[in-house]
Structure formats: C-alpha cells, structure tokens
Amino acid sequence: MTTFDEKYDFTAKTKRNLAILLVAGVVLLVAGIFTTQGGGHEAAGEHAGVAAAHDLVASTTMVSEGAAETGAAHHETATWLKRLIADLWINNMFFVGLGIIGVFFFAIQYASQAAWSTGMLRVSMAIGNWLPIAFVLILGVFWIGKHDLFHWTHEYLYDPNSPQYDPIIAGKQPYLNLPFYLARMVVFLVVWYMFFMYMKKHALAEDLEGGVDHWKKIRSASAWFLVFFAVSSSMAAWDWVMSIDTHWFSTMFGWYTFSSWWVSGLAMITLLVIYLKEKGYLSIVNANHLHDIGKFIFGFSIFWTYLWFSQFLLIYYANIPEETVYFVERLTTPQYRWVFYFNIIVNFLFPFLALMTRDSKRHMPILKIVAIIVLIGHWFDFYLMVTPGVMKMEGGFGLMEIGSALIFLAAFLWIVLANLAKHPLIAKNHPTLEESLHHHI
C-alpha cells in the first residue's frame, strides 16, 4: 500500500529551471521589442501603404469602422507598445482560464461525486492559486492599455457632437461602460477566488479531521459555484475578449471561450499529473485514471471544434457583413491566415487522431505530447481572438509573443508548484479515495 502523506518537493533544481525559462522569456521579449521597433519606423514611413490596406479591408467588408479606426486615436501608442499590451492580454486571458478551470474541475468532481479523479484533485486545486495573480494582472493591464485594447473605451464615440460619434457603440453603452465593466470584472474574479478559498479551506480541514462534513460543504459550494460560473464565464468572455471587436458579436462566443479554457485546463492538469508521476509522486494515479482524463481531452477537443464550427458556419452561410468582418479580418490577411488554419489542425485534427485509440490515452508519453500541443494550440486560439482586433494589419507573430508567453508560463508554473508543495499531494480522508484506488476501466 502506498503512503498517503507524500508531499511534493519544489526543489532548487526545478526553481532554477523555471528561472531560466523566465529569463529566456524576458530575453526573447526584449529582442522582439527591438526588432518590432525597427520595423515600426519603416511602417511609419510607409504610413500611406498601411492606411491603404485598412481601406481595402474596410471596403471589402463594407463596414465603416474607418473613421474612428484610422483616425488620430490610432497613433497615440507606438506599435511595439501596443503589441506588447496585446500580448499581455492574450496571456492574461489564457492563464486566467487555466486558473479558473482548476477550480471548475475541482467543483465538477464534487458536484458529480466522481471518484476516478480523487488523486488529481490537489493538482487542480493548486492551479486555482493563479487567480489572485490573474486578478492583479488583468486589472493592471486593462487600466494601462484599455484604449489600445478596447475601442469602446474612447469617450468621443458616445458624444453625438463628435465627428467620431458611433451610433452602434453608443447603443451598447448601457452594458459597455467603464464603471459597469470594471464592476463585473472585479465581481467575477473576486467571487471565483472566494469560492476557491472556501473549497480549499474545507479540503485541507478534511485532511486533519476526516469525516464527510467537509466533503458535503464543498459539494454544496460546488453546485453554487457551477451555477455562478456558467453565467460569469460567458459574460467574462464577452467582456474581456469579444468586446475587443466592438462592432462584432456572436451568440456562441461565451461557450466558445469556455470550451477553449476547459480543454487547456484539462491539458494543464494532465501535464502536471504526468510531471508528478515522472518524478515518482502520485503512484495512486495509474493508467485507468489517465485514460479517463485522456477521454476528457479527446471529447472536449471535439466539443471545442463543434462550437468553433457552429460559430463559423452560421456566419459564413448567413453572409451578413457586420458578422463576416471578423473572419474576413482573419482569413484575408497573410499574418493571421496561417494561424486560422493552424488553429483547427492543432486543436481538432491532431488530438482527434492522436487520442482516438484506447492505448494512446493510457500511455503517458503520448498523452504528454498531446497535452503540450493542445496547450500551445489553444494559446493560438486566444492569439487569434485578441491580436487581429487590437493590432489590425500591424500585428504578427514573433519573438515578442513567444517571450511574453514564456514569462507567463514560468510565473504560472512557479505559483502552481509552490502551492502544490505546501499541502499533501493526496486527500487522504477523501470519501471517494478508496473507490478511486480500485478504479478500473
């Protein structure tokens, strides 16, 4: 019988590796900023060319975003700084998703009284510790870069006397205004974190006291959390991601973003479990448990594709200019077109074919590769949601994107592993632990 008191040791070697990752990210980011800045001067010289390209997109899509977009507001921020803000926002969105999915996964296991996942609960719980960091980063980046990220934050759009008055955006003012927006942002992140702290407190108390009282408390909190999360995750997706393309809207968007978060969160949990197993921890998690989480990644990759396709097909078929502009921007520009196709290949075709057989879900090396690629793929999904809307024709993919993603990854893993090391890796008094030990499929 294995011992249930094992604790993860956040070794100096792991810390050093993460620090190297962080430094590599900073170096790449700085190198990226310098190269982008060089390119930025050229672009300023060829200003007429960029503006012409804008007009081309605008005319092909027949949407009159022109006046406000190519107006004076466009040149307040240097290209590199704007791109940096966009990159920070991509990573903010991607990693806050991973963090909240840690809590969501935890809650779902309690609400459904699942036993197969009991060995992974502490990993999922550790991921939730990213939330307070995400709170600070999201509010900070929003405050600094709100005019660059979100077109609707400009005051003049709402002034009927202004030449840049936009009746469409002004019509959205009851929902899209700064005080209400910030209130939603703070409420969502704070309530998510409070639910997380409550569940974590009881999960740790259960280790000491045993019994089923704590489990029952977490279970009812989970149910409330899931109800709240169902609404708040959709609204967060509209607010934080969809409102970048202020004129555009999609009724599928909340679910779509959630599915992207959910698959990446599952991939992150899988990856951490496999990492721990390779280090010799978590022997209670065996091929049967990995098989189940592999099925989750497989199934929800298809779910993501289903939502992606539902959103695309309806817009493609209805062919309404105010809707198609979103895909025209992404499909007619050389710097985003490849990401668009790459997104489907990496997030659908690859996990679909790679995880189809039973054996591939039970083999750690295959599962590890798929989890890493799915994580990269969904990062690109967020890239595709954020960058074209913020940067228009000036965006691209290069060292800045890689560097900023590495910095976030290193920080995220540091927080998660440091918190993982604080508590026992196995919830030894969990009511379904015994059932989990006998799990066999």
Partner: protein
C-alpha cells in the same frame, strides 16, 4: 450442428468462478465461455481476452460514411446539378460538414452494432446455446469445449470441482 461436447461447471459465487478460471488456464485448458448473472469485474483479464477489434470496425465504417457523404455532395452539388445557393461556390466544404458528420456517425454506429451482433453470435440465424437456465438467476457457469482440449474430460471436471463447482454437467450442441 451436432455432437460438440461441453463440460459445464456450475458455481454459486464469483470468487469460485475466478478460482476455477485461474486453475483451468493454469493447466492450459481453453475456456469456451463464462456465464454470469452480472458483469464480474476483472474476469476479462483472467480469461486473457485480447482487446476488442470493434473500434477498428467502427473507424472503417465511419470513414466509409465520410467518403460516401463527401463524394455524393460534391458530385450532386458541384458536378451533376450545380446550383448557386447563397452566393457560395458550387462545391464549398463548410455547408457539407454537418451532413458528412451525420453520415459518418450513422454508418459508424450501425456498422458497429451489426459487427457486434455477428461477432457475438447474436445474428438472426444463430442457434442459441443455453448451457444452464440458472445463469440468469443466481448461478455462474464455466464452459469448456471438450474437443478443443487435449486434456481428458475427467481431469477438466476434477479441476472445476476442486475450485468449488457445485455440479459439473455435460452438454452437447
């Protein structure tokens, strides 16, 4: 169909069935089938069953559905009777995807069910072999085809009795 002789061991507990399976297989006896009122966990491992090849059949049936759907849609909409719908190309992939998906799932599901029926002797023309009616109530049965084994029938039956069989009957089908 006549003249195949079977030894049928009747047991009253799943642990005894597991014991019998272990003992028989340990002596190199091939087991025809084990019957139980409910699913016994881990019995497939003890019986040394290889992984089912049903998923492969499902995949092939599914691919058949995919190809059929795509072929038919592109042929009708793009070649045989081209029509302009919503200003799209004659043969444009996105609107074809839902139909392709449905046909893939349909053929995979039907194909899998029929394959399963044929593979597990549930085909309409199959003659049912009822070794003992009590296996749907409270008894377990381990069935060994005598002709498939080099061991004499007496030894096989002795192994079953040692493992806790209540009775060992002989059946011919």
């Amino acid at each position: 169909m006549s003249g195949h002789k079977f030894s049928v061991g009747i047991f009253d507990h799943e642990d005894k069935v597991k014991e019998a399976v272990k003992a028989l297989r340990g002596e190199g006896v091939k087991i025809e089938e084990v019957y139980s009122p409910y699913a016994i966990h881990g019995i497939d491992d003890l019986l040394g069953y290889k992984m089912s090849r049903l998923p492969i059949a499902a995949f092939l049936f599914g691919m058949t559905g995919t190809s059929l759907a795509l072929f038919f849609l592109f042929w009708t909409m793009g070649y045989d009777w081209p029509m302009i719908i919503g200003g799209k190309n004659f043969a444009s992939l996105p609107p074809f995807i839902p139909v392709t998906f449905e046909l893939t799932v349909l053929l995979a599901a039907f194909g899998m069910v029929f394959t399963f029926f044929v593979a597990s002797d549930l085909k309409p023309w199959a003659r049912p072999r009822i070794f003992d009616p009590r296996i749907t109530n409270d008894k377990f049965a381990v069935v060994v085809a005598v002709e498939h084994n080099s061991k004499p029938q007496g030894e096989i039956e002795a192994l079953m009795r040692n493992a806790g069989a209540e009775e060992v009957n002989e059946k011919t089908y």
